[in-house]
Symmetry: C2
Subunit: 305 residues, 2 copies
């Protein structure tokens, strides 16, 4: 039974070993730590996971490694998008077969200037290819990376054509107004802001939770806000997690989050990223780790006193 | 022995059979027809080939099908780019092992806002992974699709770091001034405009040839212009191929070219494209084919009388 698509689903950073290969043991440890810190589930194979720097085989392997490491399949929401429909379908079916809570679906991001009809055909064909094995689909809307996205009319059409299958959206537009529009337009549709920058306001508007890069390092506080956004200290918590976000974002979300994980786990291998990303310079990492809010995270203390 | 990287290298449209699979027989026939029409070689697996809608296995298969169909390896310039470095490296090595003239390398297009240092690391790592099997690399600069591209300083750095390996650029910026800048900045670097729209002017500035979607349907005239751009009728030829380009572009280059091939080969299967692309509507195809310049191409006559 899939858990509700609510709460915090960190897009789990992918660790690489000394040879540059995906490291299943470090991955399992980090995945378990995130669940222990309050994550509802894990949005593995997202942008922050460098999923598009992994081969298709490696992406299958990340799903399998989580399962082998004792993560319940129902706590997995893997990114399965690809420009090639057959690759997106293969990975989506693999996730569904495993019993994943759903999949996060990027549009076919190589293409630009495509029509909503073409994107609808892409999703329809993918669902057709999966057949009875079709997973629940959370549309991954991230115009800053994919450039193309899931428009409001297309989203409506997909929800109506595939009820119970197209069930939500990760909205990484960075545009609170857009997030609110999606929430208002589609009651019952699970909307996850792709950042905690304005999470409290999004929760008040009806967001179901959050999928955010910095959840890799601040899962406890962000999950607390998704659960207790009605509490009197919610505004203070929003300010606190916002400060962490800002510090990590300033030096690059993925290398920044990995530098913090390397410090927290006392394991420099965690700094590794794949080109075209580059790890933080020593100076940049030192500066980030010297930030008091970040230092508290590294020490495993709550960011607020 | 690789042929010179000069002249016309059409980005060969990829045919699909009635089940949607890549069709090697139709591909071989079309590839041979393009060479018979004057193409120097074939830039298979480009954007026009819908390469990013093919799985990695299908992309390998397209190279193998051309070889099996009697195309000399030295007449192949496959696109091998991918966001995942290991996939780009695998396909590049496969092309090099086959003896291809070179490869066309997209930047890792999922990522945006990456640094030149990161892109340099991507290419350097790919070359390192290929080792002794490294192919000649033609940088594929197509900001309208990839958004990220090969900047002038990065191009200089790559040429200097990898002499004899990074040997050229397909410039699909659509910006004649940029094409001229690249030609002027890097003597001996093989620059192919990615369209024939201003091919004559580019040839006069020092371009070595052309790699263009519409070369799938107009190879005879475009190759003639790359070979005989000093002839007195070059301006007339430029106007003629420009008119064909405009007509096809107006209805979408890939479905447009495929509609023309379907008519030329009397084979409706050629119309098939993969989502998110869609085939032309019947009305749009009829209108395109009714254009006198296009009708002449379908009949196999030169576009000019």
């Amino acid at each position: 039974m899939a858990p509700d698509l609510t709460g915090l689903w960190p897009p789990v950073c992918t660790p690489f070993d000394e040879t540059g290969a995906v490291d299943p043991v470090r991955l399992q440890k980090h995945a378990q730590a995130l669940l222990a810190d309050g994550a509802t589930g894990l949005a593995i194979l997202g942008t922050t996971s460098e999923a598009n720097s992994l081969t298709l085989g490696e992406r299958r392997g990340v799903i399998d490694a989580c399962l082998a490491g004792g993560i319940p399949a129902s706590a997995l929401l893997p990114g399965t998008g690809a420009s090639a429909l057959d690759e997106a379908a293969e990975l989506s079916c693999h996730a569904a077969d495993a019993g994943a809570a759903g999949v996060l679906l990027l549009p076919p991001f190589y293409y630009k200037g495509v029509t909503d009809d073409g994107l609808f055909a892409f999703v329809a064909r993918l669902i057709e290819k999966c057949g009875a094995r079709v997973p629940r689909i959370v549309l991954y809307h991230i115009p800053p990376m994919a450039v193309i996205g899931w428009s409001m009319p297309l989203t409506r059409r997909l929800i109506e054509a595939f009820p119970g299958v197209v069930v939500g959206m990760k909205d990484s537009s960075g545009d609170l107004a857009h997030i609110k529009d999606v929430i208002a337009a589609f009651p019952g549709f699970a909307v996850f802001p792709g950042a905690e920058t304005f999470l409290l306001e999004a929760m008040r508007a009806g967001a179901v939770g959050c999928i955010s890069a910095t959840a890799n390092v601040n899962a406890r506080e962000i999950s607390a806000l998704t659960a207790r956004w009605r509490d009197p200290d919610a505004d203070a918590r929003q300010r606190s997690i916002g400060a962490v976000r800002e510090a990590v974002q300033a030096c690059g979300l993925i290398p920044g989050a990995k530098a913090i994980l390397a410090a927290r786990y006392r394991d420099p291998a965690w700094q590794a990223v794949r080109p075209p990303l580059l790890p933080l310079s020593e100076a940049a990492a030192s500066e980030l780790l010297a930030n008091p809010a970040i230092a508290a995270l590294v020490a495993g203390k709550p960011a607020r006193g």
